[in-house]
Amino acid sequence: MAETRLGRWFDRKGWAGLVIGAPYLWLLVLFLVPFLIVVAMSVATKTSTAPPISWGGEYPVLSWESYTRVLSDGLYLRAFLTSLVNAGLAMVLCLLIGYPMALGLCRVAPAWRSILLMLVILPFWTSFLLRVYAWMGLMGRNSWFNGLLTDAWNLLVPMDWAVKSIPMMNTNFAVVLVMVYTYLPFMILPLYASLERLDPTLDEAALDLGSRPHQVFLDVTLPQSIPGIIAGGMLVFIPAAGELVIPTLVGDAASPMIGRVISDEFASARDWPMASAVAVMLLLLMVVPTMVYSHFQARAEGSK
């Protein structure tokens, strides 16, 4: 191979180009091209044959109808809002639960640390669907878990507030609960990575300069872990906002999340342009803030 001209060219720069180019090629073929197809569909008109555009087929009429409907129909806007609120709640709760856990992981003895980290990742070893079904079982009206919570509730509130069981299934509460459970590791791991890097002598320096432990946390630990908070927040918020399975299984059908809307438009309504338009808008909603953030992040890095 090295004897041919092509071989020599490869030896000179080809391999480096190949290694660098492969991920780009991957993204081009498996992300950008499909995405452009989705964009193209979103500006097509609805046809009776399911895909509004096809290779070599009749070119459809360019139309903004799908977008105007998304922006004017309250159903879609409510679905967007439900998604953002649920995902936001899940993100905040994951942060509140995950931060102390990540901090604890950094502070325990190294021998314990690897065991506890394993426990954080352990749920991934069982099927995601199985875990959601387990929650459905727990939240159901006749489960021991629901019974326990119901008894506790009845014990604590006045008689006339007593209930037979707590309605948990098919509510937004259930969606947020299961999303927090599912996405918690995605919050803990980046937080742990950023907290673990912090120099413990900085804490001692702050103590030495007169700060009590809680002030040390606010002044030294928290500001330095902001990159971890943002990374964890995005890893939770972005998939949670587009979540389909959890709201379908445990959510309230009357107030669907946006993933459910996209799925229904494709499968039931067979309105591919509409589904594509909603998908593109969801993507923009996720990508634009991320790009703004990384732009400012790059500026901050550049000033270092």
């Binding site: 002598t201 900085l202 001692e204 103590l207 030495d208 300069l209 700060s211 002044d219």
Partner: protein, 368 residues
């Protein structure tokens, strides 16, 4: 050296520290007076850093007590102690500017905004970093970071400043310059300094008094001169500077001198008398390389021994000779290269026969 005042500023009384079964500090007692620069000197693991951390409040003594300015420090948390520390790694807050780092401790003081700003400015001027006030720690050099750490620790006007290996992270040239700067800042502020170091030169140049530590214990406390010229043990003599040590036995006295029988030197040695020594007692004779004279001809007087130059290292300002005696013992001796010239200008060369001699007062006699 003036003796510490009767009621010293800092009094450490029989302090010990155990980590599990490991005794990091054992029964250390010492006093430091106000405005003094005191060095804790020792190798790694000698307990000096643990002692410093007990002064800062990061560790509680397992036994013993620490009094600062008359107040028992037991149970006082680090944030309430009038003691600040300059960390070896400087431990500057990376997300704060130089000015914010220096101001950090001041936010706990009930002073106005203007006064706080004035204090920060004063500190910036003290360490000559005013132009760098708005930089982040990673945007300044190592020497500047060291000065920020110093200014931050001094900003709250501590009663006691602890410096953990203050110069270790600096390169040699910068270290010399910084040494003098530290001393001048100490003189201007009058704050009592406790310096932890493993570097004997750093301890000697910075400190008024030094405590030499080994295996958690204080082996000797004294001024740099006392420690160097009058070490109380073979450990201290060997740790500060270098020595050649010989087994010796006291045989008698002659005038102001103690007469020793030193088999390795092949005979009698006269050394300055140590009153406590009794005749026949086994002793150690320690000789420092720079106290030995090398000559081609036999010098007059006692304490002259013939040997052969085995090794010779030229350092520029001086040379180190290793001279083998008839008994086979190697003795290290320094010779100052006072004359300028080629190799012929040296006192002696490889394989030359030379005479070693020393003044009775220069010999260190140790009773161990």
């Amino acid at each position: 050296m003036s003796e510490p005042a009767p009621d010293p500023f800092l009094r450490i009384e029989g302090v010990s520290k155990l980590f599990g079964s490991f005794q990091a500090v054992r029964d250390v007692s010492l006093t430091v007076s106000k405005g003094e620069v005191f060095a804790l000197l020792g190798g790694s693991g000698c307990g000096k850093t643990t002692l410093l951390r007990m002064l800062a409040g990061f560790e509680e003594p397992s036994a013993g007590r620490i009094f600062l300015d008359g107040r028992d420090m037991a149970g006082v948390p680090p944030w309430s102690r009038p003691v600040h520390m300059m960390f070896q790694s400087y431990a500057l807050f990376p997300h704060m500017t130089v000015a914010k780092n220096i101001a950090y401790g001041l936010k706990h003081e009930s002073i106005g905004k203007d006064e706080r700003a004035a204090r920060v400015r004063e500190m910036l001027d003290l360490v000559q970093l005013a132009p760098f006030a708005d930089r982040k720690p990673h945007q300044i050099s190592g020497g500047q970071r060291q000065r920020v750490a110093l200014a931050r620790a001094l900003a709250r006007q501590p009663k006691l400043l602890l410096l953990d290996e203050p110069l270790a992270a600096l390169d040699k040239k910068l270290r010399e310059h910084t040494q003098f700067e530290l001393m001048s800042i100490q003189a201007r502020t009058g704050v009592t300094f406790i310096v932890v170091t493993h570097d004997q030169e750093e301890a000697m140049t910075l400190a008024d008094r030094i405590a030499v530590m080994d295996k958690g214990q204080v082996r000797q406390i004294g001024s740099p001169t006392e420690i160097y010229e009058f070490p109380n043990s073979r450990f201290v003599a060997g740790f500060i500077g270098s020595i050649t040590a010989f087994e010796a036995r006291a045989t008698g006295r002659d005038g102001g001198n103690l007469l020793l029988d030193v088999p390795a030197l092949g005979g009698r040695v006269a050394a300055r008398d140590v009153p406590a020594v009794i005749e026949g007692q086994p002793l150690t004779l320690a000789l420092r390389p720079e106290k030995l004279r090398i000559s081609k001809d036999r010098p007059a007087g006692a304490n002259a021994f013939e040997g052969l130059v085995k090794d010779l290292a030229y350092f520029g300002k001086d040379s180190l000779y290793r001279i083998v005696l008839p008994s086979g013992v190697l003795v290290a001796a320094h010779a100052v290269n006072a004359r300028r010239g080629d190799e012929g200008a040296r006192v002696a060369d490889w394989d030359d026969r030379v005479w070693l001699s020393f003044d009775p007062a220069a010999a260190i006699v140790l009773a161990e």
